[in-house]
């Protein structure tokens, strides 16, 4: 199991880190190096948090120096001016910084795109100017002195060496918390939204909230580092927290390798000590710093950590680099052996009841306009429970728009959608997914940077619960839930014949396999209704036949299916009910046979020849 392997590897990494931390002050007693090590440690805490934001959620912040500064200044001012003891001051600073991040994050992260970069850049500049100008409180440009050192019980942490152990203990804890988070349902949700926010949201990931939460978390990491910094140096000045510092922090993430916690540790150590190493170059220092940065980014865009990992993976996988496809192993040319029936749907023991009269989804008078274009006009239909319903029509007739409305991506101007007799019109995708309604996409939306197995585990997001705090602390219920998620994922992979590809990067799959992967992802959480948007488009004949078999199997398990498809052989072969759209209007509805004989359908769509 990869999870177990990964765990061993990171346990080894953590043990090595702990040993290095313990040994360093003994091997290098020189206080100057101890001081550099402390600054590296503080930067590492910020960068580990920032890496969660950049490497996992794909959001960039150019304001983390401001959060670092807020932590430092709030701690300093509370302890000196208001005589608050240092530890409570640290906690208060972390809370205030977290709330600030929340206020910036909510308006900017509800949108897709890189608005956070711009907002945090402006925020950092403002914070810095305010610190400089508001000298009655902050001490102004000359800084804020006299901050008391932290103490643990009766021991004051008043030397480089004592602070060294505290700072690096904090680094150690922050790495463990981050590793736990990354390997959890939350971590996979973040990586998924990094690849495709829409697809992630259709698996039940509440994307905007996840982005906000990870941003707040990373700001709290920075604030804690700031408080430690303030009590370590007993003096803070605005220069340390300017926009260039923010840029440097992000650079540490990128040079180390985004999304690679160990690489980031290296990036931080390297770039923090680089100015010291370049000291000999004196005035050429900045030029060399810039040059080294540019060269690394040009030639090692995946970062130093990423480059090492790629090398290592390539060697482990024989000579084949991890991302190329070995087409010779493609089995789709031959008919597949029938797979044993594994409970993919939770309703495996339900009889196949295509004649059921219950309605699972009711579409009632839906109208959707895009500017002046009327995409859907007053369309209504009912989906019978346990049946395969096809939505067909010529290109541009509004089929995919309908799927997007049902799955909560678009909000219609008029009409109602109800799922199991509950109105879901205007619900967000993640909420609809959690109710048991999932989908696939016309232009496949797999999470390319994740493995096949990981893709499917994201599909379990809808049915599971573990959130940020529980995941970071790796509480016992998380362990149980993870086991369950993995087991379900393997079953879904087996059902869709993808078991032997489980550890491949999803981008390495053939198109047909990617389509099956999407279906596995949509079905792993045992939905009641699944929307399939052109499941066989672009597939060859045998792949299409295989897909038809799989859809029939879903129906046999009692899962209701709504399928949008142009392949009439498939549609007429597997559907119980066919709904026909043309220019945004419903022109026919009935059994495949009825629809095939319908005059209007023939003239509008299938053509007279048929």
């Amino acid at each position: 199991m990869p999870q177990a392997g990964q765990k061993d590897k990171s346990l080894f990494g953590l043990a090595a880190l702990a040993a290095a931390i313990a040994a360093f002050p003994v091997l290098v007693p020189n206080p100057y190096y101890l001081n550099v090590a402390n600054i590296i440690g503080l930067n590492t805490i910020i960068v580990v948090g920032l890496n969660l934001l950049i490497g996992y959620a794909g959001q960039i912040s150019l304001g983390h120096a401001a959060f670092y500064g807020l932590g430092a200044y709030i701690s300093g001012i509370l302890t000196v001016t208001y005589n608050v003891p240092p530890w409570p001051a640290l906690v208060i600073a972390a809370c205030l910084t977290g709330v600030t991040a929340l206020l910036i994050g909510i308006p900017t992260l509800r949108l897709q795109g890189h608005y956070l970069v711009m907002a945090t850049l402006g925020f950092n500049l403002i914070v810095n100017i305010v610190i400089i100008q508001w000298d009655s409180v902050t001490g102004g440009p000359s800084g804020f002195p006299g901050i008391p050192s932290l103490s643990i019980g009766p021991w004051a942490l008043d030397s480089d060496k004592k602070m060294y152990y505290l700072i690096w203990a904090a680094v150690f804890i922050s790495i463990i918390l981050a590793l736990n988070l990354v390997r959890s349902r939350v971590g996979r949700g973040l990586r998924a939204l990094h690849s495709s926010e829409i697809a992630a949201s259709c698996q039940g990931v509440r994307t905007e909230w996840y982005k906000v939460k990870i941003f707040v978390l990373s700001a709290i990491y920075a604030s804690v580092a700031g408080s430690l910094y303030a009590s370590y140096l007993s003096f803070v000045s605005p220069k340390t927290f300017d926009i260039f510092c923010s840029v440097e922090l992000v650079t540490m993430v990128i040079v180390g390798g985004m999304g690679n916690i160990w690489g980031v540790l290296f990036g931080t150590a390297f770039l923090t000590s680089l100015p010291n190493l370049l000291h000999a170059f004196d005035e050429y220092k900045d030029v060399f710093y810039g040059l080294i940065l540019v060269v690394i980014l040009i030639f090692l865009p995946q970062g130093v950590g990423g480059a090492i990992r790629d090398q290592w993976q390539a060697r482990r996988a024989g000579k084949r680099p991890a991302t190329t496809v070995d087409e010779s192993k493609e089995e789709s040319g031959q008919p597949l052996p029938p797979k044993p029936a594994i409970a993919c749907g939770g309703a495996a023991d339900l009889p196949a009841t295509s004649t059921s009269t219950n309605t699972i989804l009711r579409v009632d008078g839906i109208t959707m306009r895009f500017g002046g274009l009327l995409a859907l006009a007053q369309v209504s239909f009912d989906l019978p429970e346990g049946a395969v319903t096809a939505l067909i029509g010529p290109n541009g007739s509004g089929k995919t728009t309908m799927i997007n409305i049902i799955s909560g991506i678009y909000r219609p101007q008029e009409g109602r959608i109800s799922f199991e007799n509950r109105a879901i019109t205007g619900f967000r995708s993640y909420k609809i997914a959690k109710m048991g309604l999932t989908r696939t996409f016309q232009n496949v939306q797999i999470f390319e940077h994740m493995t096949v197995l990981e893709n499917v585990t994201v599909g379990m997001h809808a049915g599971t619960r573990g959130e940020f705090c529980a995941s970071m602390l790796h509480l016992p219920n998380i362990t149980r839930e993870e086991k369950e998620i993995e087991q379900q994922a393997w079953e879904a992979l087996a059902f869709f014949n993808l078991e032997d590809r489980a550890h491949w990067p999803a981008s390495g799959l053939s198109f047909g396999q990617q389509k099956r992967l999407e279906m596995a992802r949509a079905l792993v959480s045992h939905p009641k209704l699944v929307l399939l948007d052109e499941p066989v488009a672009g597939l060859n004949m045998s792949e299409s036949r295989e897909m038809a078999r799989l859809i029939a199997k879903l129906r046999a398990r009692g899962i209701s299916v709504l399928i949008v498809e142009h392949d009439m052989n498939l549609v007429m072969g597997i559907s119980d009910l066919v709904v026909v759209l043309n220019y945004g209007r419903k022109i026919a509805e009935g059994s495949p046979r009825e629809v095939q004989r319908n005059e209007e359908v023939l003239s509008a769509y299938l053509g007279r020849v048929a």
Partner: protein, 294 residues
Amino acid sequence: MATADQLVQFVVSGLTTGSIYALIALGFCIIHNATGIVNFTQVDFVSLGGLMMYTFFISLGLPLALAFILAVAAVTLAGALVERLAIRPARSRAIIILIFITIGVSILMRGAFKIIWGKNQMALPYFSSESPLIVFGAAVLPQSLWILFITVAVVVVLHFFFNRTRLGKAMRATSFNARAAALMGVNVNRMILLSFALSGALGAVAGIIIVPITTLSYEIGVMLGLKGFAAAVLGGYGNSVGAIVGGLLLGVLESVGAGTVSSTYKDVIAFAILLAVLFVKPSGLLGYGDKERV
């Protein structure tokens, strides 16, 4: 409360700095349209313009007009070099990597400026007379008129270039759809090179014309450039009309705000406006949000 005369004064000086922000914002905008990235060396193009002007005009004693042209040409070349040496060889086309390459180059350039021109403040004289003219009760520096005049001239030339010339149209085509443009025979790499050169020229003009009013140092462009960035966001990032409107508006708001509210927090005003825009209408005043197709 400010009098009407003062208000006119604030608006005039706001339009002056606003023109500078507009030129810088246009530079950000052109590179964004060609490549999708935020080019942080834009900031240093502004500094380099002023520094080159100093070298040609003061150190070498060339005539004003010639020094101006040579300084702009030098920064245009610098812009092209940034693309050729740092952006084109990049192994990854990921936006974030390219953005941080420009940040690295920016650090490098500033380091180099510090070595070549030193850390000291320098000054350039006004282009013409120093005695202010009185317009509607406001004292206007002749340099302000130069700035407004040159900005208008640059905008007119750019408008002509992008709408009437083959090359300009090819650049626009590239910004709409690089692959389609390439299939139509447009050399996309050359268009990207050109966009960096053009942005260099715009930054240089901004730097050269503002420096007589401010002072000159190796990092003069940083604050101006960041405000130019804010102006671009205000207008709708990537929208050239928005860049001009955003620049002028930001200049005026900042100047009026500094005059009536607080001059200590003048710089805060510009970035507070940036945040307000992002919170209320993130696509900017003239931008349209882009929707992902499913």
